[in-house]
């Protein structure tokens, strides 16, 4: 690892405004002016909201509502005891009309469990109560309030905020991410310009929970107004540093931003907390303030609706669960301006195309992008790689994308992992610069998916093997127990036979004599059954010749065959 910059070194550089840099990076055209000039608007209520029950990294929660329930805005729809579960809430008042599968806000578009609420248009909210003096409340109460408000990272990863805030290790830097490095998106920009004070309150709450040594609020230098408003909002706090970061994609990536601000690198198999840093998005801070001060659950977020096929590009307060079609209709989306119908959820570098316009806005949605015909032209078929390594020059993680590409394409997954395939953050800078127009990130995603599937199968096979071996062992031990039992029984019989003296022998001899008499009586009437009788006779004859111990073992053999 590179040298670990001490707290003092970082502070020194911060105070003179000399930041570090991350390798690679690209400078796509920003196009933020399409949408960042006007205030965030409110939308008319949609007819339905589709609230997926899992909008975070972690596990599902259990449903609290059933079909036909009347719900109010801010009412919890799910709950769970599991700390890795984050509840979801109704984003407006109405009736629960469906609970079932609905296309997910995910590149695959696969269906996931969703609560459909038909809105009644009244937008009645549930009564809420915040923690008025949170500085006197217990840490546990604040964390619970954050969890109950359904807050997970609004920056795009969706990690449960209450878990991240429940730090045990000491934190040197609490970093607030206002970078928003992707082109077109201006949601965080407008939020910082219009609600800097509430963001500041959220930061205060997180500061109280985490108790870092310093707070760094990082904003890209293409947002001078946001830098100003946040500086003013934080001016009283000497521990809060508002820092301007040079515009370069992807400076807003968690690992890259930490590297720019502190020069430290998050270990590949670790988390930022391992190097004394914790990062939150400005939107998350805003939501935390809502949750603690007013007790409001997370029911809406700022979404940028932009692209040249949108006649009225703007930022809107979108209720969680609003179908994308509703946002498009209210922004004068003109599908005729497109070369072919295409809607992207997210930015042009990391966003994914939607298969349906009924897909809902979720907690991590920051942009709906509808490019016009000449905008974001889709590239033609890939050519052969010319090994120019423009991709390696652009990679912020210092990977060798060309090697990852060759080995992913050849499905040589062991070597691909040798080249640190899973360190790829899928930022898209490599594919952006590739002169041969190869969809590099697509290959990596496929390779990662294949490797995960293989691992999963291997785990299943391993479990099956363990179960099989356990069963074999159980059968084996059962068999041995049985044999032991028989052996002991036979031993007991032998002893009984010997100890009783001639009593048992006499009984056997009498029985044999009776059987012999019976046989000779049968022999005379018919000759048809001669074979079976002969067999019986030979057995009897053998029995006569046997000594008692041999009889005992013969008996044992017979009983074994039972």
């Amino acid at each position: 690892m590179k040298g670990f910059a001490s707290f003092d070194t970082v502070l020194e550089r911060l105070s003179v405004g000399r930041l570090w840099d991350f390798p690679g990076g690209v400078h796509p055209a920003q196009e933020k002016s399409l949408s960042n000039k006007e205030v965030i608007k409110n939308l008319p209520l949609p007819e339905y909201v589709y609230v997926p029950i899992k909008q975070h990294i972690g596990v599902d929660s259990e449903l609290l509502v059933t079909l036909g329930d009347k719900v109010l805005k801010g009412q919890a729809l799910t709950a769970s005891e599991n700390p890795y579960a984050v509840p979801v809430h109704a984003s407006s008042s109405g009736l629960v009309t469906a609970i079932g599968e609905h296309p997910a806000a995910h590149p695959s578009g696969l269906p996931e469990m969703t609560v459909t609420i038909t809105l009644d248009g009244k937008d009645d909210a549930i009564a809420t109560q915040g923690i008025s003096q949170y500085k006197e409340a217990s840490k546990h109460d604040i964390i619970s309030a954050i969890c109950n408000a359904g807050i997970s990272g609004l920056g795009g990863a969706g990690f449960p905020t209450h878990i991240k805030s429940n730090t045990i290790k000491p934190v040197e830097f609490l970093i607030i991410n206002g970078i928003e490095c992707e082109p077109y998106i201006s949601a965080d920009d407008r939020l910082m310009r219009e609600h800097a004070w509430q963001i500041r309150q959220g930061i205060d709450i997180l500061h109280h929970l985490i108790k870092p040594k310093r707070v760094i609020i990082a904003i890209e230098d293409n947002k001078p107004e946001a830098l100003e408003t946040m500086s003013i909002a934080c001016q009283q706090q000497s521990e809060y540093h508002v820092v301007s970061v040079p515009t370069k994609y992807p400076a807003g990536g968690e690992r890259q931003l930490i590297q720019v601000l502190t020069s430290r690198e998050v270990p590949s198999d670790g988390l930022p907390i391992d190097i004394g840093c914790v990062m939150y998005n400005v939107g998350t801070c805003f939501a935390v303030a809502d949750a603690i001060i007013e007790g409001k659950a997370l029911t809406q977020r700022v979404v940028t609706v932009t692209g040249k096929a949108i006649d009225k590009p703007q930022n809107v307060w979108a209720k969680i669960g609003t179908p994308v079609s509703h946002l498009l209709e209210n922004s004068a989306f003109d599908v005729n301006k497109q070369a072919y119908p295409r809607i992207i959820m997210g930015g042009p570098m990391m966003g994914f195309t939607l298969a349906s316009a009924k897909i809902p806005i979720v907690k991590i949605t920051n942009c709906i992008l509808a490019p016009a015909a000449k905008e974001l032209p889709s590239v033609e078929d890939e050519r052969g790689c010319i090994r120019c390594s423009a991709c390696a020059d652009a990679c912020p993680v210092s990977l060798l994308p060309q090697q990852l590409f060759w080995y992913s394409k050849a499905k040589d997954y062991d070597v691909a992992q040798e080249y640190d395939l899973f360190d790829c953050i899928e930022c898209g800078a490599c594919a952006y610069v590739c002169p041969s127009e190869i969809p590099l990130v697509h290959y990596y995603r496929q390779a990662k998916g294949d490797i995960r599937a293989q691992l999963h199968e291997k785990e299943q096979a391993e479990k099956a093997r363990i179960r099989f071996e356990a069963r074999q062992q159980r059968l084996e031990s059962e068999k041995q127990a049985r044999e032991e039992k028989h052996r002991l029984a036979a031993q007991a019989r032998t002893e009984a036979l010997n100890s009783n003296g001639g009593g048992a022998k006499d009984k056997i001899a009498a029985a044999l004599a009776r059987a012999k008499a019976k046989k000779s009586a049968q022999l005379q009437p018919s000759e048809d059954s001669e074979d079976s009788v002969n067999d019986g006779a030979s057995v009897n004859a053998n029995k006569e010749k046997l000594s008692p111990s041999e009889t005992a073992s013969a008996t044992k053999a017979e009983s074994k065959n039972d």
Binding site: M1, F22, P28, G109, A157, P183, Q259, E265, S268, D269, G270, V335, Y340, P341, R342, G346, M349, M350, G351, F352, T353, L354, A355, S356, P371, L376, S378, E380, R383, G384, C385, I386, R387, C388, S389, A390, A392, D393, V397, S398, L400, Q403, D414, V415, Q417, E418, Y419, F422, D423, G428, Y432, P435, S436, E437, P439, V441, H442, R445, R452, L455
Partner: protein, 370 residues
């Protein structure tokens, strides 16, 4: 709504495709070609035309046979560039069949036979040059003196005539054209020094010739400078990385500096090696061919440095006066090995010795779900 199209991110592209990159290299070579024409006559232009035509025709024919998308492939200008690089490397009045055979060999055998663009092991232009030099040594060493030193002035028509028939329109042969104002037969600066050394002269005596202008070859040095300008433009435009040109030139100059310090009488100075011959063209235009060079930046430094080393070694002790082609082709063989050992340190990882026999387990598979 009609069916929405799905695609994988990123949806943004910087719109500089392979064709654009190759075209930039062609444009950057124009100053050098212009100076070469000015200094040595129209021969290089005729060779260029022949080379480009042969290259494109060969590429189209082979791609048709391979059933590839010919139109799209030709648009990447790689065949054109290969022809160009070969045309500027050979004697300007070489017979037409030299350039045609050489270009055909480069495109068909060295490039397409190995799999086409992106799959060739050797630098196509240089492998073609090596083949020509070894097979047709007489024609490939029939260099002309710079225009300023010739007796005969060879115009455009004479040039074309000579290339196609071996004689100018007025009946002069190439050997006669090679004569300088003194009647002595012309050689390249490097060749001249090599001959002088073999005859027992020292460097300073060898440099005492009208073909040198303070150890800068007349005609040759300006051409090198013109290509240097083009090369610097390419670096600024981020078409090529600085690693290969820098390491190649620095290594060549360092090796020749060591040798000339050791024995100044039999080893030319680094400056001499830099401006005479094709070291600069080789550094910026030829060794930087992305397909056959190393792909990691650290690897490129090693690659370039070793090419520089080989150039000086072959120039000094080898059988040929100039050694760019041989050095490049030699190092092309080492590229897979260099690439293997020069993987950069990934973010978040410690430096570790790579061991291909023991693949590391997929620890990050869970975290990759984020």
């Amino acid at each position: 709504m009609t069916k929405l199209q799905v695609a994988s991110s990123p949806h943004h592209h910087n719109q500089r495709d392979t064709g654009a990159v190759m075209r930039l290299v062609v444009y950057a070579a124009i100053p050098g070609i212009a100076v070469q024409t000015y200094m040595f006559g129209y021969g290089v232009l005729v060779q260029l035309v022949l080379a480009v035509m042969t290259a494109v025709v060969t590429e189209v024919v082979i791609l048709e046979i391979r059933k590839k998308n010919t139109e799209r492939a030709v648009k990447d200008y790689s065949a054109l560039l290969c022809g160009l690089l070969l045309a500027i490397s050979i004697p300007p009045l070489a017979p037409w069949w030299i350039i045609v055979i050489g270009t055909f060999f480069s495109i068909a055998i060295v490039k397409q036979l190995y799999g086409g663009l992106g799959f060739n092991l050797f630098n196509p232009a240089m492998a073609g040059y090596v083949m020509l030099l070894i097979s047709f040594p007489v024609q490939m060493t029939a260099w002309l003196p710079p225009v300023s030193l010739t007796i005969q002035n060879v115009g455009l028509w004479d040039t074309i005539h000579t290339i196609f028939t071996g004689y100018t329109a007025s009946g002069f042969s190439i050997a006669q054209l090679q004569a300088t104002v003194d009647g002595a037969t012309m050689a390249t600066p490097l060749d001249h020094i090599k001959t002088a050394l073999s005859e027992g002269y020292v460097i300073s005596e060898g440099l005492n010739d009208k073909i040198f202008n303070a150890s800068m070859g007349v005609g040759w040095a300006p051409v090198s400078f013109a290509y240097l300008i083009g090369g610097l433009v390419l670096i600024k435009a981020k078409v090529i990385n600085w690693h290969i040109p820098a390491s190649m030139i620095i290594a060549a100059m360092a090796v020749s500096a060591v040798l000339s310090i050791y024995d100044m009488s039999t080893h030319a100075s680094p400056w001499f090696h830099l401006v005479n011959g094709s070291l600069i063209v080789g550094a910026f235009f030829i060794a930087t061919d992305p397909v056959s060079a190393s792909t990691t930046n650290r690897g490129r430094i090693i690659f370039g440095a070793l090419i520089g080393f080989w150039i000086i070694v072959i120039r000094t002790w080898g059988g040929y006066p100039d050694a760019i082609a041989f050095a490049v082709v030699l190092m092309n063989l080492a590229v897979p090995l260099i690439d293997y050992y020069t993987k950069p340190r990934t973010y978040g990882h410690q430096n570790k010795v790579r061991n291909m026999a023991k693949p590391s387990p997929a620890k990050k598979s869970q975290q990759g779900d984020k």
